[in-house]
Each structure stands twice: as structure tokens, then as C-alpha cells.
């Protein structure tokens, strides 16, 4: 019997509906209230200094779990005040506290103290970089502000002004571009965004605890949280706690993987297989589309056990691999020989396929204007979602990007402006569009163009060092599209989210600079007061010097690894796979799985495959398809919360142990 053709439109629509556990029926409400805003400011600003301090001391901030702690605290307060918390409020609170606590924890996010240290390092002196650091990055190395360890000093005027302008422009670009792409991928194409319900259902479940009647959500969330606490203790807690007390931590399961690569080399030379032991990934297997997981695993197995050893190694395309290499060595050499180039090509195929699918939708847009919101091929928005005119967001992005390019051009006037324009208006839209699509289907980014900066600098023949200190206008807004989908699933108006961010971001930028100032005042960074920074910052400084001087002789091993014939092979073979799947009337999900899995390590997919098989052959039979798709995002959200809480408790204990000074008598 001939197979019935299911068009891509029908296929995506079906998956999108499956992941919309409430069947698309929702009313939209604002999540930004005064109590939410004050709660986020209070909790965020209270935890932010702690997370920055923890990062400098222990290298872990605990920022992942902090928003969940804030939300649990908020719901408990609501219960004790005999009031309720809406899921829209909780989701906005999660986002705002996450932004507040995560703000500035990475030393490069607010780089003033880092550059104050870097400019005086012996590495920067010996590599002849120290005197060439521009005035808009850091003051001179003998400046009073650096000697006094103060950020609140006029010496920092230009670095901080440039930083503020760049940060605010970046926020405008991120919001507008991610919204624009969301409208294209979620509204127009109806891509399913499989991981978005996990974020949405966590807030929904916690909101229900403050209501009168608890539903299945709270029970499922609790089961997930307990599983997460147990697994987190087993996987993160035991190694971390024993690491505090012993010189070698106890790992019951080796973290992060058990490497079988040397064991398979006798029958699969140049193949790799490292079994990832984070079985929390099983829950991702519950959630992600079954065809993607299985086809991805099958194609990864094919790569590592047939393609690599029997074809690429035999014909000496993988020529650097030697027996005895572990997974990291095998991956490095295989990437340099072939897979780096091939992966670039296959990433471009996602853009080509996406555009090929979008062009006819655009052509049919005029017909679809009469279609109802929620149907594929329609840009109509659901009523009350708080949408913005799409031209306005597109225009905002263009204006803010033009201003950004102009500022960068003023900062490095001798660098060819054509490269900046190319990054801003060709590379960034392409990069973001590809990753928006892969987030919409696979829940993760796939497009990586390695060493693009180095390639640009070589092509531009620009030899000054200042270009390395500029943030070039190459950005990826793909991940941001998922956030809008989560807002939609939680029934939160888009306007309330944008307003919350607009109020919070300026506050956070100023607060983070002040907090860094006070932490710097306590003791020099790095110093014995900040052991993690003392250990790692000198290494980071060496690393940075090596990168910044790597192209002085115009050579880079990585750049030489990129070969046009292999890039073309990745691009064309992926398109051929797509074409054959279409001819065979097979679902296009398979394309994303097969092409996504080519060249990957199948060992890292094993937990997800186990989850997918359990879900498909046990859970769906047990609970039914619809109920299982309602349960699994809530379960995964609870699990994330549980693991995060264990992680935070572990960091706290590690901090206490590091704060104890052992006297030698």
C-alpha cells in the first residue's frame, strides 16, 4: 500500500499541538505586578553579591537553582498570607531573579576587574599587549583607580560608558530580533519547541500549590523534585562533599562519561564511544520527539562504527588518528581532519532547508491572512498575547544594529567597516535563523562556525591588537525564541515580560558594577581571599595572550583545518538526505535527527534513547499519549528543580569549608 504523504505543514502542526499541553486554550495575563518586581529586586540583589563572591571563591555560583528557591519562597509567602500566586507572576519572577542572580557571575560579563588584573600581569607584559589595551577597555596600568581597587573612579569613565551603551543596545537587539524570529518560526511555521513546556510547566505546577485545590501537576512536580534530589545527591552531592573532606572525591559513577573509545579501536579504529553518565538526560528523552532521538542515535552509531573506521579512516581522510587515543584525542584529530568542515556544511543545510520551506509560506501569506491564529502559515496573533508590530521589532533591530556598528567603527576606525556590516547584516541573521529553527525542532543550537573571528582578522589584514577587545556584531538570537514560546505556554503577556526586563536591566547593570566594586575593595582579585580566581585567572591570562597573538604570523592550525570540499560534502549530502526523505514520504523530523547525529558520539545519546524507549513503550501504554505528554514536562521541571537545589546546598557547604582557615598549630 502506498504511503500517505504528510506535508511538513501537517507534521509540524501535529507536533506543536502535542507539546501545547493545554490544547492552545489559554487567556493571557500580565505577570508583572509590584510584588513580583519588588520580590525579584529584593531576592536578586540579595543573592547576586553572594553568587559573584562564590564564583571567585569556589568557581560555582549556584545561580541555576537560585530562581527556583526564589519562586518556592514566594509561593510559601503567598500561602501563608492566604493569597494566591498566578503562574504568570511566577514565570516572570523566575526570569527576573534568574537574570539578577546570574548577572555578572562570569568574570568576562563585567570585565573591569579582569582587565585591571590582566593589564598588570607578566603575561600581558611579555606578549607586549599591556601597553596596547585601548582606553575604552581599561585605564592605564599605573592608574589610581587600579591602585586603589575602585570602580567608582573617573579613570573608569570611558570603559563604563561604552559598556553601558553596548549593554543597553544589546538588550534592545536581543528582544527585538528574538521576537521577530519567534514570529517566523513559531507563528508562521508552527515549529513545536519541544523543550519549552518544561520551563512553562514548572511555574504552572508551583502556582497551583497556592490555590485551593492541588491538581495532578503538583504531585508530578513533587515526584520529579524528589527524583532530582536523589539523583543530584548521588551524582553531584557525593563527589562534591567528599571532595571537601578528601584529596580525591568519590565518584560512584564516573563524571561526566566512561570512555570506551580505546576499547572499540580494535574493530572500529578512529570511532569514538563515551557513555555519558548523567542519567538526568533520560528526562529529556521523555520530552523530545521520538523520531528525532532514534534517528539521531542511529546516525551517530553509523558514523562511529562504519563511516569513520571503514571509509574515512581506510581512505586516509582521518589521517591523524593513532591507536591508544581516548575520546578527547580522537575527537580533536577527527574534527581537524574532517568533521569540523563537514559540520559547517551540514549547518548551512539547515538554513537552506528552512528557507526552502519558508519561501512558499511567505508566498501564501496573502491567502492565509484570513486564517485563524494558531494555524500554520498565518502571522495572526492570539488575542491578548501582547504582541508588537513585527515591522517595529524588525526596525528596532536594524536601528540598534546600525548604531552598534557605528560605535564599533569609531572604536576601531582602521578595521574595514565592510566586515562589521557583513557580520551584522549577513552572518548574524543567518546564524540566528538557523539556531531558531533548530531550537524549534531539537531544543538546542546546531550552528557553529568555528574561528570566524580569526578568519575575519586574517582576511582583513588588520594587525592592530585593539580589534580583539571589541565585541564584533556576530550574535545568536536563536535561543531567545524559545523564551517567547514559554511565555505563550504560560499565558503571560509579552508586554509584561518586556516591561519587566526594561525595568530590571538598567537596575542590574548599575547594581552589578557597584557589587564588583565592593568585592574588589575587600581584597585584590585574584588573591588568597579568592582561591578559585587565584588558581585560574593566571591561566586565563596566558590563554588570552596566546589567542590575541595567535595570528601575528598569519597562521592558525584550526583555520587550515577548514576545507571547502568537506564543507560542500556536508552541505550537499544533508540536502540529498532531505530530498530522499521527501521523495520517500517520510517525516521531516527524521532529517533533523539523521543530520544532527552524523559525526556525533552515540555514547552521549544513550541516556536520552533510554528515556525515549521507556516513554514510548511503557509510559504511553500506561498513561495514554495525551496524559503522558502532559506529565513529562512537569516531571522534567521538577527534576531540574531538585538537582538545582542539591547543587546549591553543595556549593554552600563547599563555601563554608573553604572559609574555615586551618591554623598550623
Amino acid at each position: 500500500m502506498a504511503r500517505e504523504r504528510v506535508s511538513q505543514a501537517e507534521e509540524w502542526q501535529a507536533w506543536a499541538q502535542r507539546y501545547d499541553v493545554e490544547g492552545g486554550l489559554r487567556t493571557f495575563e500580565s505577570g508583572l505586578t509590584l510584588k513580583v518586581f519588588l520580590g525579584a529586586v529584593f531576592i536578586g540583589l540579595l543573592m547576586m553579591p553572594g553568587s559573584i563572591y562564590l564564583t571567585l571563591v569556589a568557581g560555582q555560583s549556584g545561580a541555576g537553582a537560585a530562581p527556583w528557591v526564589a519562586v518556592i519562597l514566594f509561593t510559601e509567602l503567598a500561602r501563608r498570607s492566604f493569597t494566591t500566586a498566578r503562574r504568570q507572576e511566577l514565570y516572570i519572577l523566575l526570569g527576573l531573579t534568574g537574570a539578577a542572580v546570574g548577572s555578572g557571575i562570569h568574570y568576562r560579563a563585567y570585565p573591569f576587574v579582569w582587565y585591571a588584573y590582566f593589564i598588570n600581569t607578566p603575561q600581558a607584559q611579555s606578549y607586549e599587549i599591556a601597553d596596547k589595551i585601548p582606553y575604552w577597555v581599561a585605564p592605564a596600568k599605573d592608574a589610581v583607580a587600579i591602585a586603589e581597587r575602585s570602580l567608582l573612579h573617573m579613570d573608569w569613565f570611558w570603559p563604563i560608558v561604552i559598556f553601558l551603551i553596548m549593554k543597553l543596545l544589546a538588550e534592545v537587539r536581543y528582544i527585538s530580533a528574538s521576537y521577530f524570529l519567534f514570529r517566523l518560526t513559531a507563528d508562521l511555521e508552527r515549529l513545536p519547541y519541544p523543550l519549552a513546556p518544561i520551563h512553562a510547566q514548572g511555574a504552572t505546577a508551583l502556582a497551583e500549590t497556592t490555590g485551593r485545590g492541588e491538581t495532578w501537576r503538583w504531585r508530578v512536580f513533587s515526584i520529579g523534585s524528589m527524583a532530582g534530589l536523589f539523583w543530584g545527591f548521588f551524582y553531584i552531592g557525593i563527589p562534591s562533599l567528599t571532595g571537601v573532606m578528601m584529596s580525591t572525591p568519590i565518584q560512584i559513577l564516573k563524571i561526566p562519561f566512561i570512555d570506551f573509545t580505546p576499547s572499540i579501536e580494535s574493530f572500529a579504529p578512529s570511532g569514538m564511544f563515551a557513555l555519558w553518565t548523567d542519567f538526568g538526560l533520560i528526562l529529556q528523552g521523555f520530552v523530545l520527539p521520538f523520531p528525532i532521538i532514534i534517528s539521531e542515535f542511529a546516525s551517530a552509531m553509523f558514523t562511529q562504527f562504519i563511516l569513520n573506521p571503514q571509509i574515512l579512516y581506510r581512505y586516509e581522510i582521518l589521517h591523524q588518528w593513532r591507536p591508544g587515543l581516548d575520546m578527547r584525542g580522537t575527537k580533536l584529530f577527527n574534527d581537524l581532519d574532517f568533521w569540523l568542515s563537514f559540520d559547517m556544511g551540514k549547518s548551512f543545510s539547515f538554513a537552506a532547508v528552512g528557507l526552502a520551506a519558508s519561501i512558499p509560506i511567505m508566498l501564501s501569506l496573502r491567502q492565509s491572512k484570513q486564517q485563524q491564529a494558531g494555524a500554520r502559515g498565518s502571522l495572526q496573533t492570539p488575542p491578548g498575547r501582547g504582541d508588537f508590530p513585527i515591522w517595529l521589532m524588525g526596525g528596532l533591530w536594524v536601528v540598534s544594529m546600525v548604531v552598534y556598528v557605528w560605535i564599533v567603527h569609531r572604536m576601531v576606525p582602521n578595521f574595514p567597516v565592510s566586515f562589521l556590516i557583513g557580520f551584522a547584516f549577513l552572518y548574524t541573521p543567518l546564524h540566528s535563523y538557523i539556531n531558531a529553527r533548530t531550537f524549534g525542532v531539537l531544543g538546542r543550537p546546531l550552528f557553529v562556525l568555528p574561528y570566524i573571528h580569526q578568519a575575519t582578522f586574517i582576511l582583513s589584514r588588520y594587525e592592530e591588537i585593539d580589534i580583539w577587545f571589541v565585541h564584533l556584531p556576530d550574535e545568536d538570537y536563536g535561543a531567545g525564541t524559545q523564551h517567547w514560546r514559554v511565555l505563550e505556554l504560560t499565558g503571560t503577556t509579552f508586554t509584561s515580560d518586556v516591561l519587566g526586563r526594561a525595568l530590571m536591566v538598567p537596575l542590574l547593570i548599575v547594581a552589578t558594577i557597584v557589587v564588583w566594586h565592593f568585592i574588589w575593595q575587600i581584597a585584590p582579585i585574584p588573591s588568597s581571599q579568592y582561591p578559585f580566581a587565584q588558581t585560574w585567572w593566571p591561566l586565563y591570562a596566558t590563554d588570552e595572550c596566546l589567542w590575541k597573538t595567535s595570528l601575528r604570523d598569519g597562521n592558525s592550525q584550526m583555520l587550515q583545518a577548514i576545507r571547502g570540499d568537506y564543507v560542500s560534502a556536508g552541505f550537499t549530502s544533508s540536502l540529498a538526505i532531505y530530498g530522499f526523505l521527501w521523495m520517500a514520504k517520510l517525516p521531516s523530523m527524521w532529517f533533523y535527527g539523521i543530520v544532527g547525529g552524523i559525526g556525533q558520539d552515540p555514547g552521549m545519546m544513550v541516556p536520552r534513547v533510554i528515556g525515549a524507549l521507556i516513554g514510548r513503550f511503557y509510559m504511553i501504554k500506561q498513561f495514554g499519549l495525551k496524559r503522558w505528554f502532559m506529565y513529562n514536562p512537569v516531571l522534567a521541571a521538577g527534576f531540574t528543580c531538585g538537582v538545582g537545589l542539591v547543587g546549591m546546598a553543595t556549593v554552600a557547604i563547599a563555601l563554608v569549608s573553604k572559609a574555615v582557615i586551618v591554623k598550623p598549630f
Partner: protein, 55 residues
């Protein structure tokens, strides 16, 4: 239109295999094959979106 898409995808894929085995996998013929494939895929989607539903 559906038949044309089939034909172009088939020609593109066959030409790519030909370019790998008989033209030393040079990037120029591979990209020519890719162009044929892209045209075929676009026609396939145009047919799906604009013509198939009408039928």
C-alpha cells in the same frame, strides 16, 4: 510540479554521488549538485504549500 521536484532531487543527489566518486570530490561540482537539490526542494515545498492543498 511534484514530478519535477522528484526529478530535480534525484538528479541532484545522483550528480553529487558522481562528483564524489568520479570528480575527486571537488567543491565546485558538489555545490552545483547542491543548487539542483535546493531548487528541487523549493519546488517540492511550493507544490506542498500552494498547489497540493488546492487539489
Amino acid at each position: 510540479m511534484e514530478k519535477l521536484a522528484y526529478l530535480l532531487i534525484f538528479i541532484g543527489a545522483t550528480f553529487w554521488i558522481f562528483s564524489i566518486f568520479l570528480m575527486r570530490a571537488q567543491w565546485q561540482p558538489q555545490l552545483l549538485a547542491a543548487t539542483i537539490l535546493i531548487v528541487g526542494i523549493i519546488i517540492a515545498h511550493v507544490w506542498e504549500e500552494l498547489f497540493r492543498e488546492k487539489k
